[in-house]
Structure formats: C-alpha cells, structure tokens
Symmetry: C2
Subunit: 467 residues, 2 copies
C-alpha cells in the first residue's frame, strides 16, 4: 500500500512538473538513478512512476538512453499563424451541429455509456427538495430580481475572492447558463456587422452566436499558452474589432491556458483599441493542479465580461450561469429581463446553500481528481488504440484535442460512425474556416471504460480505414 | 347548507350570463319574481344572489325599479380608435419598469402579503424530487434536445387537443418561459426597424421586447371583444407591418377576450398582408367558465406562433414555457439552442408526469375557482373602498384594469405609494404613447384579505387625494 501510494505521488509530481513546462518537449528527463536520489525513493517505485507516465503518453522511453518528454500536440503545431483566416467574414457553421445537439449535446462518443457517479448531486438535490418545501409557495407566485437571487450572487462573490477576483454581489447577474451569458455579452456589446475576434480553434457555441447575431468573425491563431496576442495586435491595427472572446483557462477544444504575459498584453490592447473582452471561465474551476485567477482579476477598466456557469463543474440540469459584465452590467441585466424575465429561485437558493455550506469546494476537490483520473484513462486508451494520433494533454477541463494522421475527413465520417452508435465531435465545428477536418475533440467527462472504451477502439479503427 | 348552495349556484349562473352579454349594460334584469319562477327558487335565495352580484359590482339596485346591469369599464371606453398612436414609432418604456421588477415582478400591491395556498405544488415538487433521485446523474451530464424533452412536448400536444388545437409533439419547442417564447418569436420573424402591431393597451413585456429588438410599434385600439381588426386593416393598407402580437384569451391588462369573428378577420388579414401572428396564450388555461380554443386552432397557413408557459397557471419558479412557431419552427429551435443551449430535464420530466397523471387538469379546476373567488374578493373590495373607480370584470386571467376618476397621475404616485409599502402597476406601462396615466392594473393572483386589503384601502385613499 505504502509503495503504491509513493509511486502514485511521484507520478503526480512529475506530471505537474511536465505540465508546468519544467522540461521542454523532447528533453531528456533526469535518469532513474538521479530521480531515486532526488526523491529518496526505491528504484522500483521510480520505474513504476515512469512506466505510468509512459502509459499516459507523456514521456517515451528510448532504448539505452532514458525517458524523453513526448512532444504533445500543441496548438502551435495545428494553428500556424498563416492558417487562420486573414480577414473578418460572416460565420458559416456546418448544419451538422444541430444534428449532434439533437443526439447528445454533451458530445459524448457513447451517450448511453456508463455514467460517472456524482455523490454531491444527492446532497444538492436534497437541498433543492428542502428549499421547495420551505419556500415553494412564495417562489411560485413571485419572480426573482432581474439580476438573480442575492444569496447566490453573494456566494459567487465569495467564491471568486479565493482566486484573486474581487467583485461585489451586485456586479453579478445570474443567467440561464454560460451560453446565455455569452449571448447577453455579445448582444450588449455588438451591433450586426461588427467584427469579433475569437480563438482559432474556438468554442463552436461562440461561432454559432456570431452567426445568429450577424457578426463577423476574425479567427486569431492560438498556441499552447493561449491566444496569439501579437497576431491580434496586427489584426487590430488593420480592422475595427469590437470585442474579443477568449477562454483563458482550459479552453475547449485544446485545453490550453493563457499565460499571464499574454493576459496582460490582451488587456493593454483592449485599452488601446477600446475593445470589450468576453472571458469564458466555464472550465476555470476544473484545473487539476490549480484554479487560475480569472482574466477579469487584472481588469482595471471594467471592460472584461466574465461568463460562466455551474453546468460543467456541477450539473448541466440546473441551467444556472452568471455574467459579471463590468461597464455593461445595467445593459446586460435589462437584456436578460426582457428576453427571459426570471430564473428559478428554488434552484438558485439551493445552490447558494450548497456553496455556503462548503459542499461546492469539497465537491471540486473530489471532482478534479476524478476528472484527472478519467483524462488518464483516455490517455491510456489513446496510447493503446490510437498510438499514431497526436493530442493535447490538458491540465484541466473536460476534453482534449486530437489530430489524426493521414488526414481523414472526420466531418464526413460522422454519419458512418453514428450508424455504429458513436457520436464524434468533428474538428470542423471549431472554426468558421472549414479547417480542422482531420481533428476531433474527445471528452473525458465520463469514464473511459466499458462500452465507451469499445466505442473509442471502434472509432480509431473506422477513422484509420478512412484514409 | 342546501340554501347556501342554491344561492351560490344561482349567483354563478347569472354571473355567467352577464359575462356572455346575455343582458346589455344598463339593461334591467328580470324581476325577482320572474327569476324565482324561472329557476324554481325561493324569494330569499334569489334576493341573496342578487345582493351578491351587487356586492361584486356587476349589477346595481335602483329603488322601486329593480336590478340593472352595471356598465363595466370596457376597453371601448378607454381606448377610442383616435386615442391609439396613428403611426409606427420606436418604443420608449418608462425606466420605472425596471424599478418595479426589482421590487416585485409579480406586480402585487403588497408583495409581502398573504400567499395563496397551492396544494398542487406539494405534489409537483414531490414528482420533481423523485425525478432527481431517479435520473439526476444522467441529466447532470447531458443536455436535453434543442426543442426540449419529448415527454413534455407530447403532454402539451395532448393538452391542447382537448381545446380544439391539433399539434404534434414535434411542432412544439420548450422555452424558458413565455417571455422567452415571445422573444424567440419576434427575433425569428423581424429585423431591426420592422413594424409590429400590438394591442392598445398592450402587455408591457412585449413593448420592452420591441424596444430591445429595435422594432417599431403600431398600437391598435382594442375593445372588450379584442383587437379592433378594422383599425388593423386600415393600418395594414398604409404601413408595411411584419407581425401582430395578440392575447386572444384574457389579455393583460383588461382581461378582454377576442371574439371568433375578429379572430377570423385577423387571420384573413394576416394571409392578405403576409403577416406573422404571435399569440400570447399564457392566460388561456385560466378561464373561469371555459377554456377558449387558441387562435392557432384556426391557423391553416402555419403563420400563427403560439407562445405560453406554466408560470401563471402553475408556478413562476419552473421557468418552463413553450412555443409552437408554425413555419418558423426550425428557425426558433435554432435560436433557442444558440441563445440558451438547453432546459432543465428534471423539471420538464416532473411536469410531463404531472400532466400525464391528470394532476394539471385537476389543479386547473381548483385553481380557476380559487381565482374567481379572489377576483370576487377584489371586486367586493373595490365596491367598498373605491366605488367611484371604473374597472373591467374579467372572466379569467389574473388581473383587472381600473380607471380612476379625476385623472390622477399614477406613474407619479408610484414612489409615494412605495413609501407606504405599496407597489402599484401604473397604466402607463401598457402603452408606448404615454397614455393610461390614470389607469392601474390590479392583480387578483393573491387573496384580497389581511394586509393586502389594507394596502388597497390605503392606495385608494392616496390616489383620491392626488387630484
């Protein structure tokens, strides 16, 4: 048991160092002997940990030479500056999107596969049932305030304070989820025809919104450390951009995080070019090793609009998100009121209790470990069934980004896979440019075991035969 | 007991005949003797019933002459054709609106007053708790279909079938309430600058939406039997109108219902002028004597967009509404997906069970009686405390429309009343024209007893002193 614990601990430590870039890709790790000495561990323990890292695809053993940092798929490799669209354009999104949403909006390759056990839900649902018993009659007859239940906004304020972001409860507005928050943000800031800069690859929900609101998209290359702010700067000098949408923490699909230097640069550019910065923080609470401070914590000009929700960290069934819209707060609150009227007070109250009683914090500790474990299951499966693929190794969030050799067209494979009961999320959804056709996003929201593991194996085989 | 039952039954019968226009305003009712003979009841029973109708303000006794139908406030008296704005204009809504919403979006004069007992809620909440226990884990990880849970859409289809509207489950899209449905409808049909015809007076939520979506409003006079379609015809021949928003059943604020003839005329005009007709059916289930067929049941061209929700009939806390958008169905579903992503599956599932098990139907039977009782409480209170005011006597819905003699400015009185803990709903909210300043909407959602009754008395006194 002790040995078991020690090798797991070492695996964790080395994994964290790798994540932090302590060693460069292709760099040789310290020798087994050196690691034994450094960590005061036995040869067997160190070797066990290194085998584990190898199984995760994080390092590779070279005969008679040692362990080398495996070159993960970085956004650099996939999105060279020249590959991003050079000028703003109206958005077109494949019709496929609606079909996928109809089947499984969680983008799970096997929507009927085993479901992760979420013990915190029992507790949350108990709080909800109690709230309904206690306040149901009054809530049934009165709508909440336009900005949402004060008790919940207070808890959000306290939550963010732990991570370096000081906002008062009246700076938040509760929404019906993060997508709704993004919608309100874009609607408040932009007029039809305006140009909005996004990451490349970007979250498909944002691209859909731009299309709906008749906005033009400008896709800015994104690397492992986030949006290429130098490329953004070039674009800003050339085009009149109204807003920039970024996901600084564990962006979907790549899982990339934005470096502090780039965050500072982005805000300086925003000030210079009078830009609204829309921050999608939905994965912020799902970092395995840390909870990054939101970009908004650096915002001295009230021009960062923070958008998030409980959908990813807690439950997609709650339909509760929030927006801290800075200088656009009043406009956003009015928009929400007019387009939606109200939110569920009982759900907000139950969530406020769940946070106030410390359950959310405890849940996150547990859930982050679970997600990391599921990511490792996925990495193991990929090493085993899809060794020729390249993929990012996210340090948080819910998905990784996979590049397929031989460049099969994943969009075309979608229907064929569906006949096998497999829902794939084609890379093409993440750009308006038609690029990323040989990319996939793979989710580790659910355990990669049982029928889901079989589905992955089948998927690898199907796509291998495609080229 | 038997006597008690008989006079109540007669009161009901006479009330229904009055509502159906069996006698004209100012017409003399049959004599007490004639009524005794007709209904085979004792003198005491008939007199008891007539006193009851008098207390409700529905008839008035004239000495030595008998009982006369009291002239209720009809929309005719308040909205003469010439009083409605003559040409389309951008909407301006008083800022006051947001302030009211912040205090009590249910527009209750005494938001902290006694709350009506809603026994059905216990049952609904139990179904919800059970659903969460059974399906919570899966719902937490997957979003629902873009158009909402099939089981609920199926129940809606069955529900409307009882009232002459045959729609399949796939013709509905679940929304986050009726306001959200109206938002989706207008967004799907109109472009900024388009002209939308509305009732005069209109639901403030629609006016807010038009302002938000930068649409122009054209207010069409409305009488006791609904929108003046002759006036609409004149307007259509002059202006290019894109859509018309109507509430054919128990419209807020007047409680008016649209006559079948006017409904047919409206649809003929819609066909001739290629109009979208947006039907707000939110009060349809709350008719005291009948459940009117929705306007959409006459729609042969898929140009009526039915919008409704469970907020008024069941609970404002559910945030579940629906839209049946006819030819705009796909567009609306896409819009919902992009702006909101999903709805709560557990709440939808609990509602589907609530309807399927017959609880909704039973609840409505009970709730309609309760609302009628509360309306009568309000009418009694008005007779007592505000005899000089004129008001509509709605046969369903949740509110009546009150005209004040001496024309005090209710909008100006708002703040003063608030200091007394009274929230009034000024008539000015129901038009973009600045008219209806000496009107109020009064809700009978809650019992007019205790502190709410005192508030009404105070309100009458305050406004009496205003002129």
């Amino acid at each position: 048991m002790a040995e078991n614990f020690r090798y797991q601990q070492l695996t964790q430590q080395l994994q964290q160092l790798l994540a932090q870039g302590h060693w460069q890709p292709a760099e040789r790790l310290p020798s087994v002997r050196a690691l034994c000495k450094q960590y005061q561990l036995s040869l067997a323990t160190v070797q066990h940990a290194l085998h584990q890292l190898e199984a995760l695809g994080l390092v590779e053993a070279r005969a008679r030479s040692g362990y080398y940092v495996r070159q993960p798929l970085s956004a650099v490799a996939t999105t060279k500056p020249e590959s991003a669209p050079a000028s703003p354009a109206p958005v077109t999104v494949p019709e496929l999107f609606v079909d996928i949403m109809n089947r499984s909006a969680a983008f799970d390759i096997q929507p009927k596969g085993p479901v992760v056990n979420l013990p915190h839900l029992t507790l949350l649902h108990r709080l909800l049932s109690r709230t309904l018993r206690q306040h149901g009659s009054r809530y049934a007859l009165h709508y909440d305030e336009p900005t949402g239940l004060p008790a919940l906004r207070e808890q959000l304020s306290l939550h963010y304070r732990h991570y370096g972001l000081a906002l008062k409860e009246d700076q938040f507005c509760i929404t019906a989820g993060c997508q709704h928050a993004l919608f309100l943000a874009l609607q408040a800031v932009c007029q039809p025809g305006d140009i909005v800069a996004v990451e490349h690859p970007a979250f498909y929900g944002v691209l859909q919104l731009l299309q709906q609101l008749q906005l033009q998209v400008l896709e800015i290359p994104t690397q492992q450390d986030g949006l290429d702010t130098a490329a953004l700067q070039q674009a800003l000098s050339r085009w009149q951009v109204k807003a920039c949408v970024v996901t600084p923490a564990y962006a979907t699909p790549t899982g990339a995080c934005m470096s502090p230097a780039k965050q500072q640069h982005l805000l300086a550019l925003a000030a210079q070019y009078d830009l609204a910065v829309i921050e999608d923080d939905i994965y912020g609470d799902l970092g395995f090793y840390q909870r990054p401070s939101p970009l908004k914590s650096l915002d001295t000009e009230q021009r960062v609009i923070l958008c998030s929700s409980f959908s990813k960290a807690l439950s997609r069934d709650l339909r509760i998100g929030w927006i801290a819209a800075g200088r656009w707060h009043d406009k956003v609150a009015r928009l929400k009121l007019v387009s939606q009227l109200a939110g569920s007070q009982s759900v907000q109250q139950a969530l406020a209790l769940f946070l106030a009683q410390g359950h959310y914090k405890r849940h996150l500790q547990h859930y982050r470990n679970q997600l990391q474990h599921q990511r490792d299951q996925l990495l193991n499966a990929l090493q085993l069934y899809w060794p020729e693929a390249r993929y990012t190794v996210p340090q948080g969030g819910l998905a990784l980004w996979l590049e397929l050799p031989g460049k099969p067209n994943c969009t075309e494979a979608y229907t064929h896979c569906l006949q096998q009961g497999i829902v794939l999320t084609p890379g093409e959804l993440f750009s308006s440019s038609g690029q990323f056709q040989h990319f996939l996003r793979l989710s580790f929201t659910n355990p990669m075991v049982g029928s889901r593991l079989t589905a992955l194996q089948t998927l690898a085989r199907l796509l291998r035969n495609k080229h």
